[in-house]
Amino acid sequence: MLKILLPIAAIVLSNGAEADERPIFDAHIHYSHDAVKLVPPEQVAKILRDAGVRKALVSSSDDNGTQLLAAAAPDIVVPALRPYRRRGEINTWMHDDTVIDYLEENLAKNEYEAIGEFHAYGDDIKTSVIQRMIELAKERNLILHHHGDREAVDLIFETWPEARVLWAHSGFDDPANVVEALDAYPRLWADLAYRSDMVSRGVLDPDWKTAFEAHPDRFMVGTDTFAPERWYYVGPHADFSRGWLNLLPDQIADNIAFANAERLLASE
């Protein structure tokens, strides 16, 4: 009898472990033109599912990748419109008036939750292209997924005080400065993509811990699939995220893993 019970117990424990795996909302995903050629949408969808990613904020250069992936995994993909036709435009796009046509065309034919991830530093925000882009977001109440510095964040909120801004990579800024920005702007959220300074060899960084405790409702994780091969890092990244999130109280960990992103999407 004991011999029979033991395998059953093992199965239950095994299933329990899978069920307990913390779901991930990956708030920083790209599926750009070169990735589309090398990793088919069905394969990408499988990678996301295998990694336990239940939602992903996806933006692509060009937007075709997002649309292909949305068709392959409509339950996972949260579409964002990136103002680039190729990734190489990240330094020049704000001076290119044709970007507005590109945005308007796509906004007219597809549904999006956000505009971004877009790169802009300091006064870039004052260019007519970015000002018009913010206007388009305002007309549709879309989130702005911004990669840049604090000055640019300030100028975005100066342009549109009610904006919902997701600060990519938390601006690659120090945790204390990120906290200060989150203090200043209640409608600013911060993703932690391509950052690993939150943890080192199993120990949570104390400054980051303070930041997460100060703003448990504003941080989220993201992989940043900036090159085609990086799709194969989505799984390891989800595991990495679960590892360091386990060092936090459950409620904060759940918030950062998925709940903050879901609440951001549900907010007005």
């Binding site: 190489g88 690993s196 080192s200 091969e229 890092y233 990495f240």
Partner: protein
């Protein structure tokens, strides 16, 4: 003074134009690549480092297929001494097609990390892993011990390490690896035309220095300057021995990628064979600080160790996957690098170089002078 014209040439107007083209600052930078060869320092983690008997046994084992479980091939089958201890295949062929280009084995003594992904922190550990890797030599520890005990090498082995009956299979494996390592430590590249130039500059012997070809000097200036090459290819071996994204794709197949340093670190941090482990012979655990201090980073994924450039002209093809056939292709890769592959906040030093055809040729000419004199 921008240029150092030789006194000899000034005294002989009308002779062929030969001079040192480098600025004072470039000369100072050039001195940092030598002198060559460096002095040898025994590896404290390997008690048979610099031991002549171990070196001789290591050399014999290196070329003997006894180190593969079925006698199919030897270390030298892939690290061919006649081909600068590599082979010409883009990716190594073990029992199957392996993931990476075979690196040369010269100038390995005293490095911090070994292999394209740095999965070892000592030369003896780097020598050990291929012996038990299933896709390579495929021995088990036990089969290796049996093979050594039954081999003609048993007397030499026991003379160095004692009776094999008192050694577990684990210890025999480590001891074999340490003999290989002691041999590999002796493999160094010869002095090159560049070394003669560099030493002449150090002596202030501009007449001798001016024998170094103008094209190579112009290439060196690019290497130090616009090319930004020396940011990673620096020091005596022309390598910082760290890990970078050089913009080379790293797919292995349609559904598999080479994880590079990320995988190397996973391996290293779970390995029993590190300088911080019990198999090191160094009670002071010198060098173990590196493996203890590692901090993981998302940028580890798909990065590979900067290779040395000494004897580089002898080790084609190039890059971690052997995807570039010759030095000109390597220079053109960096010249036209696809920066879209790189993270906006990642390897910011890499950008299109916009070198002219003449400059591409000059940079190749410089790299060719890093090989041993013909």
């Amino acid at each position: 003074m921008k240029r150092w014209v030789t006194a000899a040439l000034l005294a002989m107007p009308g002779t062929a134009h030969a001079e040192v083209l480098l600025s004072r600052n470039e000369i100072q930078q050039t001195l940092s690549f030598g002198p060559w060869p460096p002095s040898f320092q025994a590896d404290p983690s390997n008690r048979v480092s610099n031991n002549p008997r171990a070196i001789a046994l290591g050399a014999a084992l290196f070329s003997d297929p006894i180190l593969s479980v079925d006698g199919a091939f030897a270390c030298a089958s892939c690290h061919d001494p006649e081909q600068a201890f590599t082979t010409s295949e883009p990716r190594a062929v073990g029992r199957v097609l392996l993931d990476r280009n075979t690196p040369t084995l010269k100038n390995l003594a005293g490095l911090r990390w070994y292999g394209w992904a740095g999965k070892s922190d000592s030369l003896w550990a780097a020598s050990l892993h291929p012996i038990i890797e299933k896709r390579e030599m495929a021995h088990s520890k036990e089969s290796l011990k049996d093979a050594i005990v039954a081999s003609p090498y048993i007397n030499d082995f026991e003379a160095i390490f004692g009776d094999t009956q008192n050694q577990g299979a684990d210890l025999v494996l480590v001891n074999i690896a340490k003999t290989l390592s002691s041999y590999l430590e002796t493999l160094t590249t010869e002095r090159s035309q560049f070394d003669d130039f560099r030493d002449a500059l150090e002596r202030g012997d501009m007449a001798a220095a001016s024998n170094y070809p103008d094209a190579a000097q112009r290439g060196l200036q690019l290497f130090l300057g616009r090319g930004n090459c020396s940011l990673c290819h620096n020091g005596l071996r022309f390598s910082n021995n760290e890990f970078h994204d050089a913009g080379v794709p790293y797919f292995l197949s349609e559904t598999e990628v080479d994880e590079g340093r990320f995988g190397g670190l996973n391996f290293l941090l779970s390995s029993a064979y590190t300088l911080d482990g019990d198999w090191s012979d160094d009670p002071a655990k010198q060098g173990a600080w590196a493996v203890r201090s590692i901090r993981r980073s998302h940028s580890d994924f798909g990065t590979f160790r900067t290779p040395s450039l000494r004897d580089v002209a002898e080790t084609a093809p190039y890059m971690h996957d052997g995807s570039l056939n010759d030095l000109e292709a390597v220079v053109r890769h960096y010249n036209e690098i696809d920066v879209e592959r790189l993270h906006a906040d990642g390897e910011a030093i890499l950008s299109e170089l916009n070198l002219s055809e003449q400059e591409v040729s000059d940079l190749v000419a410089f790299l060719e002078t890093l090989s041993s004199s013909p």
